[in-house]
Point group: C2
Chain length 203, copies 2
Amino acid sequence: MQSRTPASRATGRPRSAAADAAILAATREALVELGWSKLTLGDVATRAGVAKTTLYRRWAGKNELVVDAVAELFDELEIPNRGSLAADIEGVVLQFAAILARPEARSGLMAVIAESTRDDALRERIRTSIVERQKRLVLEGRTRAQARGELPPESDPTTVDLIFDVVAGAVVHRTLVSAEPADERWVRAFTRLLLVGLGGAAG
Amino acid sequence: MQSRTPASRATGRPRSAAADAAILAATREALVELGWSKLTLGDVATRAGVAKTTLYRRWAGKNELVVDAVAELFDELEIPNRGSLAADIEGVVLQFAAILARPEARSGLMAVIAESTRDDALRERIRTSIVERQKRLVLEGRTRAQARGELPPESDPTTVDLIFDVVAGAVVHRTLVSAEPADERWVRAFTRLLLVGLGGAAG
DNA sequence: GCAGTTACGCTACGGGTCGTAGCGAAAGCC
DNA sequence: GGCTTTCGCTACGACCCGTAGCGTAACTGC
């Protein structure tokens, strides 16, 4: 959501928080039934039981609305503490895959990423509300693995960025491009590849 | 493109091959200037110097047109023979990254992939004209590395799928989501991670 | 050459969505 | 009650979609 000027003004009729929730839920519902391209803001407004103008007062357009609607799906992401780096990775990747398997994420996420290639503000919105939240999990997992002694202390901060791109990219590509499920078997093979590299994974 | 019934009929005025090329080039030009969402078929037709109806006679819609226009960008992909698996991987990843760095690929590819999540025919079109061509490179690289003795003979065919998702996914995510260049430094770090795994890459 | 067939350019059209303007009513603060 | 902001509603011009219809161009086979 976007704040009014600095913080919400104390005067006038307040915005309905229920309307926000209804609009975002209606957006996800429309994503499931219609997909990104056939989703219209008028339809979302009708589903949410609000006027179309109300929707436009809160979001600049389809892109921003869908980013917020999809971002809520990632709220549940948490890195499990399963006792080993491999198990932790498998756990978080399975969670990530489960979210991407949902139709409202599949059809919406790639579309807004595509739009963000020509809209810096949109990319920033995606980064802060979706990507950074995921990347934090990678940081936590690394810290925990280092405490266990499974990973050496890391000095290069770009390694985290690299791992994040590899993990998230692989799951997204498997799910959306190859269009095959990132199930337990796949996740195990992927985790092994990540940990021991190509030579080990081929054994 | 789509063939007429089995093979092109021998009667009647033939379709202009020049028009095909002009339309696809105009599509890429429009992708650069306008991006996916603001690209209209009427505009593409005008740029190509053909009538809008001609465009609709050859492509079912925006999705199919952009897939074909973007697919041509991947024609130049070839796996180099640099003498070692690591060097081969770095070479092909750099080529792939160079294509994804082009604006007509960035804005178009993700958009059609997003659309393909709700359109099986479109996904199949993407698979045959873009994805499979990339996957062939992975196969060639593996065969060559096995001949060199760098990789053990592989029995599990799903390993190729896994590697492909990891490589393509990582580059795409780095380029389009993280929005940072997959330059030589990054590619070297990625290749090392792929070959020796997390423990080695962290050293 | 001439008939047959297909592609092409052009124009026009109904249908749908966009994003905004304007209005009166509702809901909160002082 | 007065002030302020939000809300629902209606209406609107602008744009794009995808198709139909027509006359013309290009190529094949007789």
